[in-house]
């Protein structure tokens, strides 16, 4: 406890034990005695009994009544024994001389006076201290009580403020939501209205609310109904919830909804707590929404009608790729019903051969999230299939998410047929030029066949004569037969190559190495080159060229054409300078890996103005040329996704180069 602690020193001294207080008195007297003795011996002054008085005062002040009496007795005895002249020097006696008696009496009286006084002083000081401590304790107590009262007070005012705030929130909420509250006791008829209720009914808040006031405002057409509802509530005390109109003094009409819960508060007595809601605005919004929805419905209908009436097949699909609807032309073409074609039903209309590829393509477009197109044959209602080009475009919301796919299907059957016919015509033309080029090489081809054939005949005849001679050298015969086979194989290889080139074969795309094409051409062109006194130099890389996808025969045709052109260009120049260099390269152009073959001649070269016309049909510099070779070659290379072009040489002559993109997944 705080008080005890602060006054601890005092309390302790007050509680100092009686023994120590008495000891203290004895000590004080002893000290006085020692000092008195000292003074008498040192300075020879008569013994000052005031020293003993000081010891008595000290004992009284700090010890109280009992110690002071002890101190007085001891002091008197010591004073008497030691300091007064002895009456009988040889004997130890307390009897003083008669002339010293008054001094002793005086000392006793003074000691008693001083001692009692100081002891009294001590006891009164102690009682005052005690009274002060009690008072301080009381004050502390009071402070504590005051503090707790203050805290209580704060809490209460906070709660009041919160209550006030929530009341104002409620009022604000009521105002904003146009909802008033009410309380109603039946049969007492006491009614409580909130401020908003007054505002809704447009009454002054000072007025006392009654059922009559309510009925005054009810729209005459709803009056009977409202009365009926009120009466029923008064009878059964159950809650209610109904709507009716109010007719306001200014003639405006409000739509009101009344909701209340009833609770019993005694036999035959009820209390209703409820709300009145001004739902005029809500009602208006609902009506507006309904009409807007109707308008949307109507415009959607118009949109669909428009889609149906334009002569284009239009469709719409969900983000997952399933169809939402198809326009009437689509349905009429396929003969499918809208229900059947919906979702994935439309797949039935695709040609079985195209279905897998087309659906895959469609899913790819969907995954790419970008506009795309695909082609497939779709079945007409009469069972005939026609080619369609289907284009799809995504429709996105504000966040960029695809919410629909819109698309059109266009009949491209006629175009497709024309393309096919054109393709056939091109193939035929390519074939004719190929045959023409072959015609120029007839001599070489004959040589290439006759050479091994001659060897076969020679060897066969050698065998006959070896065997007829009797002394058959079988080893020689064996060698001859092996060479017969070799020759026959060579001849048949040439023939099949010629047949390949001259046959009218459909385009066949395979994975191939352009080096093989160079080798093919060399077989046919080598002898031609010898005849024309042209040196063909081959420059191919060590490893294979980047593989390409292509038609071997067509590529042979292109290369053959370029080589023959190169040899033609050198017919008028000196024999020693007639060189054709065929180079094969793998390289990357514009980030696309490709394989290229170039044919360089040292002939008459090209004029700059020829460059443009060079690849045009019927342009030729040769007297007997058709002017189709380079045009066809270029169309073949471009159909392979590659390029064919000419370059000037640093020296004489020109270089023709064709490059093809490397086959996918075939990078070296």
């Amino acid at each position: 406890m705080k008080i005890n602690q602060t006054n601890g020193g005092l309390g302790k001294s007050a509680n100092t034990s009686a023994v120590s207080r008495h000891a203290m008195a004895v000590a004080a007297v002893c000290l006085a005695f020692i000092l008195a003795q000292g003074m008498e011996r040192l300075w020879h002054v008569s013994p000052p009994f005031s020293l003993f008085l000081l010891a008595i005062i000290y004992s009284g002040w700090f010890g109280g009544y009992k110690p002071v009496l002890l101190a007085i007795i001891l002091s008197v005895l010591v004073f008497d024994y030691c300091f007064l002249p002895l009456s009988f020097p040889k004997t130890h006696s307390f009897v003083p001389k008669m002339n010293d008696l008054p001094r002793l009496v005086l000392f006793v009286i003074a000691a008693l006076m001083v001692g009692l006084l100081s002891a009294a002083q001590r006891s009164s000081a102690q009682s005052i201290r005690r009274a002060r401590d009690d008072l301080a304790e009381k004050v502390q107590e009071l402070n504590r009580i005051n503090k707790s009262l203050n805290a209580e007070n704060d809490e209460r005012s906070l709660a009041e403020r919160a209550l006030h705030r929530s009341e104002s929130y409620l009022a604000e909420a009521q105002r904003l939501s146009c909802t008033g509250s009410f309380g109603w006791k039946v049969p007492g008829g006491e009614i409580y209205w909130s401020a908003e209720t007054y505002r809704i009914f447009q009454y002054d808040p000072t007025m006392k609310p009654t059922v009559e006031l309510v009925l005054q405002r009810v729209h005459p057409e709803d009056a009977a109904y409202v009365k009926q509802m009120i009466e029923r509530a008064m009878q059964d005390g159950k809650g209610f919830d109904f709507e009716h109109r109010l007719l306001m003094p200014d003639g405006s009409v409000k739509q009101l909804r009344v909701v209340a819960n009833g609770s019993s508060i005694g036999p035959g007595e009820f209390e209703f707590a409820g709300a009145v809601m001004d739902i005029t605005e809500q009602e208006r919004a609902r009506i507006a929404l309904e009409s807007a929805y109707a308008a949307i419905k109507k415009s959607e209908f118009q949109f669909r009608t428009t889609l149906d009436s334009i002569p284009v097949q239009v469709w719409c699909a969900f983000p997952d790729g399933s169809a939402e609807f198809q326009s009437r032309p689509w349905l009429e073409y396929t003969g499918l019903s809208a229900e059947k074609a919906r979702s994935w039903g439309w797949k039935d209309a695709i040609h079985p051969e195209d279905a897998e590829q087309y659906v895959r393509k469609w899913l790819e477009i969907k995954a790419s999230q970008a506009p795309g197109e695909a082609e497939a044959r779709f079945r007409r209602f009469d069972g005939q299939y026609r080619w369609f080009l289907v284009r799809a475009v995504p429709l996105r919301d504000e966040q960029g998410n695809i919410i629909r796919w819109y698309g059109t299907s266009t009949d491209v059957d006629d175009r497709k047929r024309a393309e096919h016919a054109l393709h056939n015509a091109e193939a035929a033309l390519a074939h004719i030029t190929r045959i023409t080029t072959m015609g120029e090489l007839t001599a070489s081809i004959a040589h290439e066949v006759n050479q091994p054939l001659g060897a076969v005949i020679n060897n066969a005849n050698a065998c006959i004569s070896l065997l007829t001679n009797g002394a058959a050298n079988l080893e020689e015969v064996q060698e001859a037969l092996a060479e017969i086979i070799e020759g026959a194989d060579r001849a048949s290889a040439v023939i099949s190559r010629v047949r390949q080139l001259s046959r009218k074969v459909p385009c066949e795309r395979i994975l191939l190495d352009l080096r093989d094409v160079v080798t093919d051409i060399l077989t046919l062109g080598r002898y031609e080159a010898a005849t024309r006194r042209v040196n063909i130099h081959i420059d191919l890389p060590e490893g294979q060229l980047l593989p390409v996808i292509g038609d071997r025969v067509q590529l042979q045709q292109v290369l053959l054409n370029l080589v023959v052109n190169g040899m033609d260009a050198m017919s008028t120049i000196e024999v020693s300078k007639r060189v054709v260099i065929i180079r094969g390269r793998s390289e990357t152009r514009d980030g696309i890996p490709e394989a290229s073959v170039s044919v360089q001649d040292a002939g008459c070269g090209l004029k700059p103005e020829e460059m443009d016309r060079l690849f045009k049909a019927f342009y030729t510099t040769k007297p007997q040329g058709m002017g189709m070779g380079l045009a066809i070659s270029r169309s073949i290379i471009e159909a392979h996704g590659g390029r064919l072009w000419a370059e000037f040489n640093p020296g004489p002559g020109a270089t023709f180069i064709f490059s093809l993109p490397a086959a996918p997944n075939a990078a070296l």
Partner: protein, 207 residues
């Protein structure tokens, strides 16, 4: 003059064909020496004795026709049998005019080639023989006096002794004397023999 085995040279760049031709001719019992190019043929020495050349027309580098031209220029007379994979008439005419013995188009019958080879060797053999004969005749002719050469020319022309005497302003007896010497020196057995010798000499001088 020692008897030398005839030899057939083959020049063709196509190994398969070259080997087959070599085998065919070898089995026919003739010596064969194949070469892959005209240059190889020119580089290597040719033995004395009858020979013939089986030559491919079209070859890279020096062609068959080039080789023929080269040989003619160098005065080498070897019968040439041309073979070609695809012969045309102008080419064969040109070759024949330049002295080819045969122009064969592949594939040809082996018999035809072998016959041509044998004929060519025979021809070369007789050419060589004639060459040595003429060389012999020339030796004899060298022994004649200038007067005797004059008489021989006139006699070979078919002039009578009397005509020759008047031509040379001498007597018939002198002519007779010279004629006997000529017949003896030239080892002619008859006048007809002498006439042939004169012709041969005349032809060789024109060669």
């Amino acid at each position: 003059m020692t008897k030398v085995e005839p030899i057939v040279f083959i020049v063709d760049d196509d190994q398969l064909f070259r080997r087959s031709t070599e085998r065919l001719i070898r089995t026919a019992g003739l010596n064969v020496q194949p070469y892959a190019s005209a240059k190889d043929f020119l580089k290597n020495p040719r033995p004395e004795g009858p020979a013939c050349l089986v030559l491919d027309v079209r070859m890279p580098g020096l062609s068959g026709m080039d080789l023929q031209h080269e040989l003619t220029q160098s005065g080498i007379h070897i019968p040439i049998i041309f073979i070609t994979g695809h012969g045309d008439i102008p080419m064969s005419v040109r070759a024949m005019k330049a002295g080819a013995v045969e122009f064969l188009t592949k594939p040809f019958r082996s018999r035809v080639l072998l016959d041509a080879v044998r004929a060519a060797i025979e021809r070369d053999r007789s050419r060589l023989q004639m060459q040595s004969e003429i060389r012999e005749l020339r030796g004899r002719y060298e022994q004649l006096t200038p007067r005797e050469r004059e008489v021989m020319t006139l006699v070979a022309k078919g002039l009578l002794n009397k005509q020759a005497a008047s031509e040379l302003s001498t007597t018939e007896a002198t002519i007779k004397f010279h004629r006997a010497h000529i017949m003896q020196k030239m080892r002619a057995e008859s006048l007809a023999d002498l006439v042939r010798m004169t012709e041969n000499l005349g032809a060789s001088s024109q060669l």
